[in-house]
């Protein structure tokens, strides 16, 4: 039915009447732009977190006392190692170090550089590092947020920590994290595990928590039961729980936005309906001529709907491309703040360019259906006008 000649004619008419469609085109582009920016951004952030989580341990075990978590004794590790399916138990030392003059804090992560099997991201970062040289004196690797912060206070090469025992520990800045990992490592400082113990005030035979690794996800539930049986004063955090919590948070933020957006779309539908219901006498005449020349009501409906559809498609493409540029090349100014929420240190993020095609399809449905639904009745109404009357 809509063959090449028909499309040709359709574009010809569209071009001749371009002024008529311009306002609708701009509004649609704007709508698509905002909607797809939000979806692209939230998906990119979700992907970023998913990537980070991938290298995370299957379980994290904390010791609880009175509902607060306290440091875990190192000898627990033997018990965990005896559980089948657990391939590695890693005591971790980390914590928040508060910078006194201001209400900011850094996240200090202590690392045992000789047993670094798991975090691929960390591995990549320190693969270029000469470990011997790094460990020869107090050194640290800091995130971009920390760097910016320290620069402000003129600590370019080193920083002086004040551990709980009121001593002073001077630590050199050895390297920085790349910008790509900013979302997670923005306020992070990595250093040797013993140095971290000193600064955070953790006893030598204790750790902040244990990380348990298991290669088989399907075994996770069994391991969890055994872990619960070993100690009664633990909190066990499973990787999939973290994943679900993040998913929920993003769905929630995106969801609120979508619900608000429905109102916008409904308004847009009314505008469309109004706009396309106004049939000018010149339009009427055009339709009358076409009908007299052997076009059926159906042909005219297809023509009218085709016009709107092409406007909609082009607006969609333009809006989406603009959103892509806005999110991935301009790093989503303004909008980003909504998603990052309050952050301890200002974040400067370079997002990975990842697009979820099912989300694009979703977006397309969400936009095109209201658009087309709003023009159906106007299209019909203009197609059934009496050709004789229309040509007068």
């Amino acid at each position: 039915m809509p063959n090449k000649l028909f499309l040709n004619f359709l574009f010809l008419l569209l071009y001749k009447h371009r002024v008529k469609h311009l306002s609708i085109f701009f509004i649609s582009t704007l709508i698509v732009f905002i909607l797809s920016s939000v979806l692209l951004l939230s998906h990119a952030l979700q992907e970023d977190i998913k990537q980070t989580l991938k290298s995370q341990p299957e379980f994290t075990i904390q010791k609880m006392r009175g509902g607060r978590s306290v440091d875990v004794p190192l000898f627990w590790a033997d018990g965990f190692e005896s559980i089948e399916g657990v391939v590695d138990v890693e005591p971790r030392v980390y914590g928040e170090y508060f910078y006194e003059p201001n209400e900011h804090h850094f996240t200090i992560v202590g690392i045992d550089f000789f047993e670094l099997a798991h975090s691929k991201k960390l591995k990549k970062i320190i693969s270029d590092i000469d470990i011997k040289k790094f460990l020869s004196k107090p050194n640290m690797i800091i995130g971009q947020g920390v760097k910016a912060f320290l620069d402000r206070y003129h600590f370019f090469d080193y920083y002086v920590f004040r551990p709980p025992d009121r001593s002073k520990i001077e630590v050199n800045i050895y390297d920085y994290f790349p910008k790509e990992s900013s979302l997670v490592s923005n306020d992070m400082i990595i250093m040797d595990i013993d140095l971290a113990r000193q600064i955070l005030g953790v006893d030598e035979d204790e750790a902040t928590d244990f990380a348990l690794y298991s290669p088989n996800e399907l075994e996770a539930d069994n391991i969890k039961i055994k872990l619960i049986l070993q100690h009664f004063d633990t909190r066990i955090i499973q990787k999939s729980d973290i994943q679900k919590a993040y998913d929920k948070l993003f769905n929630y933020k995106g969801g609120i936005f979508l619900i608000l957006y429905m109102i916008v779309l409904l308004t847009f539908m009314m505008i469309l309906y109004q706009r396309y219901s106004m049939i000018q006498s010149s339009d009427k005449k055009e339709i009358g001529i076409l009908r007299a020349l052997g076009w059926s009501i159906k042909d005219v409906i297809v023509l009218k709907i085709g016009e709107s559809f092409i406007v909609a498609i082009f607006a969609f493409l333009l809006g989406f491309i603009l959103a892509f540029i806005y999110v991935f090349f301009l790093n989503a100014p303004l909008l980003g703040a909504i998603f990052y929420g309050y952050s301890n240190l200002p974040t400067d993020i370079v997002l990975n360019k990842s697009v979820d095609f099912s989300a694009v399809f979703l977006l397309f449905l969400f936009y095109i259906l209201p658009f087309m639904a709003a023009v159906l009745i106007p299209a019909w109404r203009s197609s059934v006008i009496d050709p004789l009357e229309a040509m007068r």
């Binding site: 039915m1 063959n3 090449k4 000649l5 028909f6 040709n8 004619f9 010809l12 001749k16 005449k285 055009e286 009358g288 001529i289 076409l290 009908r291 007299a292 020349l293 052997g294 076009w295 059926s296 009501i297 159906k298 042909d299 009496d386 050709p387 004789l388 040509m391």
Partner: protein, 220 residues
Amino acid sequence: MIKLENINKIYNQSRPNEFHALKNISLHVSEGELIILKGVSGSGKSTLLSIIGSLIKPSSGSVVIDNQSIAKLPDLHASVFRADKLGFIFQSFNLFEELSVAENITTPLIHKSITPKELKDKTATAMNTAQIQHKANTQVKLLSGGEKQRCAIARALVNSPKVILCDEPTANLDAKNSKIFIKTIKKLHDDGKTIVIATHDSIFDSIDAKIINIQNGTIV
């Protein structure tokens, strides 16, 4: 070719402003005949022409054109009928002012399945017959009245119709162009087309045609 039996057309049926536009009109036109419907404006000749053109449906009576009954034809079929058998020429040309001559002439063909080559050939033939081929790529709004009329003729001929219907074709033409128009009509008549012209212009008196006078919706 065209057979009308007891055609009635009532506008605004069973409303206060009801208007009986055509009353019991019966009319037979055989193939190749040239008919002129004469009458003042409002006499019902345009309505009659539109019923023949299946643009409006009669309130009662039967219309048979080329052995096809069209009085009750659903729009989907009526439009195919129009596209295959009829060519229209209107009083105010009714061209797309923004499009070129060639584009205008192709409009009756483009919703059909037809190859670009066929389309080109048919358009060229029609333009030749109407002698407008030299303006093929000119926008219609830049044409003179006579050229517009020739473009309209070419458009009416492009689907090689059996029947050509003209509604006040010379109303917007000067005497010279009217004469050219009549010459073209004569030629089409000689080619064997069935032609129906609704007009009140006396210039058509010179033509050798069957003249039917319409007054207040009846043939007199």
